[in-house]
Symmetry: C2
Subunit: 384 residues, 2 copies
Amino acid sequence: MVARTPEAFAKSGIEVRTKTEVVGIRPESGEVRLGDGSTLHFDHLVIATGAQARTLGVEGEELPGVFALRDLSDAMRIKAYLHDRNARRAVVIGSGFIGLELCEAFREQDMDVTLVNNHTLPMHRLGEEFGGRIIEELETHQILHLPETMAQAVDSASDGSLQVHTADSDILQTDIVIVAIGVVPEVALANSAGVRIGDTGAVATDDRMQTNLPSVYAAGDCCECRHRVSGKPVWVPLGDTANKQGRIAGINIGGGRAAFPGIIGSSCFKVFGLHVATTGLTEKEAGAAGFEPRATTIRGSSRPHYYPGARTFWLRLVSDRETGRVVGAQAVGYGGAVEHVNILAAAITAEMTVEDLAYADFAYAPPFGGAWDPIHIAAQKLTK
Amino acid sequence: MVARTPEAFAKSGIEVRTKTEVVGIRPESGEVRLGDGSTLHFDHLVIATGAQARTLGVEGEELPGVFALRDLSDAMRIKAYLHDRNARRAVVIGSGFIGLELCEAFREQDMDVTLVNNHTLPMHRLGEEFGGRIIEELETHQILHLPETMAQAVDSASDGSLQVHTADSDILQTDIVIVAIGVVPEVALANSAGVRIGDTGAVATDDRMQTNLPSVYAAGDCCECRHRVSGKPVWVPLGDTANKQGRIAGINIGGGRAAFPGIIGSSCFKVFGLHVATTGLTEKEAGAAGFEPRATTIRGSSRPHYYPGARTFWLRLVSDRETGRVVGAQAVGYGGAVEHVNILAAAITAEMTVEDLAYADFAYAPPFGGAWDPIHIAAQKLTK
């Protein structure tokens, strides 16, 4: 993908209006109202308003030096601030993947980093064992992890630095604060136009990405979609899903026929050397979705013991007791985690069972793994 | 897996007889005859006689310094020979994965290596494009690749070195010769006992690994098995398949019930920095198996262009035109090849279609790939 200017788009017959706000949609007349009072006509409209960073809602959040990281301009402002203030200390509030990636980014700049986590574990959805491995990785890299800690206010100290006050009355001295506590869908415009908002709080569409208003489509982080394992609408805003939804909307608007099949909740990230990946449901989520979950965790290696350079990972496989269907997988490790989760993403998409996987034929050679893959071993355990 | 001595096995109640040859099987009386004239009784017998290296059948093949590489003792003899003779030149005959791995191993010892290939391309099954990439990798590492070249005789030169005579009347001077032209199943014993040999030339079993003789099972490289895509019996002797067959035979003999589901022909290896992986059928094989194949090759990257450290790979996806079913995939590259082939191994096992894959939800983050995976792009191309 090459970044293109409005001029370059214009050559393709596409008019790009930068710094232009849509303040209202009139679906019945096929018009959008712009901030300057003018209107634009549409036959088809795509709402792709994305998501916004959640805010803490505490005093001092608007101070200079307190940032959210949502887009490229945020990143550039943070980078400029670090440079201008010669920032040496960072407080990161929030232990999702953005918060964890920022811990790594700041540490790579040799900064002192404190992670303020209102949960006990980072990426708490992944549970105690995997969350514990993330904590170990943070500690190895001198990140100060403060579990069960709420930020209650931010203020400026007399020397121009910032102070984060916690609910436990601790005061964290820092040069920069990042609030990375998740996102909320940006649906105000859609809502005001009569576009249906789903129970998740995001725009509801059908599998063609069409909203309840026939001329109005929606795509990307502002949309909910169907989870193919639980069958329920979910809101999991991620870049690859947004790409797919945009393409599907475009094909349908252009007169083609394409259906977005939904998601299975696959995602991954790395924090320092540790890779973390997940697909489908966790054991807890599987129970909530009406499955009777069974789960097992297998320690794997990117190579057999006799081959130098082996890297360890841990794979958790979740299946349904009655049907044997694979409903989820999570992995953390120093290699192999993402790769194994993506094999299982295919398996979950195809509704494979642990029996189907127990003796499945994967490409094997010692530079790439052992003759028995952790997927075989986990599936055999869950077959019994 | 820990190597165990006969004494260690004995403690588990397992008697291991080393240096003991079985010279005959009497299935009707449940006995095997040993080389020393004694007999052993069995209730269940497992034939796991493996495979033998194919020989060239040319003069001089028995000379010292001409080796096949089949097992650990071969490797140890080759290593000792290299050391004793201070070998600096190697001729490798055969361009399958063993031949290619040996090219790398010898080159790592700074030896001059010539690869004698009776085909035009190494790993000729993978076709021109991927074979060409393997040739490039060989050339980068100063391997002399001689395509369409037959070894016709080997003899000793007056200085004690070896000479390989080719059909084109070239003479290749060398210190060691490796014959790596494949293997043949070792079925003489099974055959003489009345065990049915399949059309592939290997032992035929059912999916419980039972032969036509109820008390006789077989497992490993001496066995054929069912290809799950073509539906036909095939002989693809590989270590991971052997492991699975052994386990299935053991479960059934022990009174359990387990079925070996067959293979889809997944395998991989590396030659220098190039990874090569395959699963299912090639386009040509798919045609021969009665499919109407479509195929496309996509250039992929282990990371998006803006993320440092990206490694290129090429993925070929093969589908059936009428049903859209994914019937094969091959990949070569400097990262990502094996990982992507294994995702597709799951897809092929589950009989997924290109439509199922076109918008499948894989775990994505920039350290691990792009938002559109080459699998998406290839599947979308084949969907049209």
